[in-house]
């Protein structure tokens, strides 16, 4: 952050979204696409999803972007798979 007076609304790139998912969820591999850098779609594969309900799997991913969904990230269409 440039230390300005106002918070800057950072527009994340698809790469950033991918990197953050993979950093936060051990063993995760993410494919992320965006046409406009506000609506994203992601396919996330992770061993950490094993034994979790789909809702719990999606929550793990949503938790990475807590507070940003509906803000800088308007929408994150999600598909999860256990590896």
């Amino acid at each position: 952050m440039a230390g300005g007076r106002y918070p800057v609304l950072q527009m994340p790139s698809a790469d950033e979204v991918k990197t953050r998912i993979e950093a936060a969820i051990p063993g995760a591999q993410a494919e992320v696409q965006t046409a406009d850098e506000v609506h994203f779609s992601a396919l996330v594969r992770a061993g950490a999803f094993d034994g979790l309900s789909r809702v719990a799997q999606h929550r793990l991913v949503y938790d990475v972007f807590e507070g940003e969904l509906g803000g800088a990230i308007h929408a994150l269409a999600l598909k999860t798979e256990v590896t």
Binding site: R54, V55, H58, Y62, L69, G70, L78, K79
Partner: protein, 132 residues
């Protein structure tokens, strides 16, 4: 209504209705494409459901997400449990799991792919024109 009362009203609505959808807009005029798609899937299965519009008061969405630990809208609940948002409901619809979970028989003419639903209408702004 205080925030606590809103949260209690949401919890009661989830308890009282076997199938309840929290959405933007109403089933007849959804205000967002994801809500429209979720409504269209439930309608394709001809399953009765209750619907709550989260738009009239931002605290509805805030309290709902605090309760469900789910950040986005729509949210579909079945017998008190969150089934998911539009993505999960779409996967469940296409695999047949949604009909099974809801205990309904998919009608013969229900599309295999999740139906897109009507074009979302922008939410009414609630501005009253008193100039005319």
């Amino acid at each position: 209504m205080s925030d606590n009362e809103i949260r209690d009203a949401i919890a009661t609505a989830i308890d009282d209705n076997d199938v309840i959808l929290f959405m933007k807009g109403s089933p007849a005029s959804p205000a967002c494409g994801f809500s429209a798609r979720t409504v269209a899937m439930l309608e394709a299965l001809e399953t009765p459901f209750a619907a709550v519009d989260v738009l009239p008061d931002p605290r509805i969405r805030q309290e709902l997400s605090a309760l469900s630990k789910w950040p986005t809208i729509p949210q579909l609940f079945h017998k008190g449990e969150l089934l998911g948002g539009c993505d999960i409901v779409t996967e469940m619809y296409e695999s047949g799991e949604l009909a099974t979970t809801l205990g309904v028989q998919a009608p013969g003419d229900a599309p295999e792919q999740a139906p897109a639903g009507p074009e979302p209408q922008p939410a009414p702004m609630g501005i009253e024109n008193r100039l005319g």
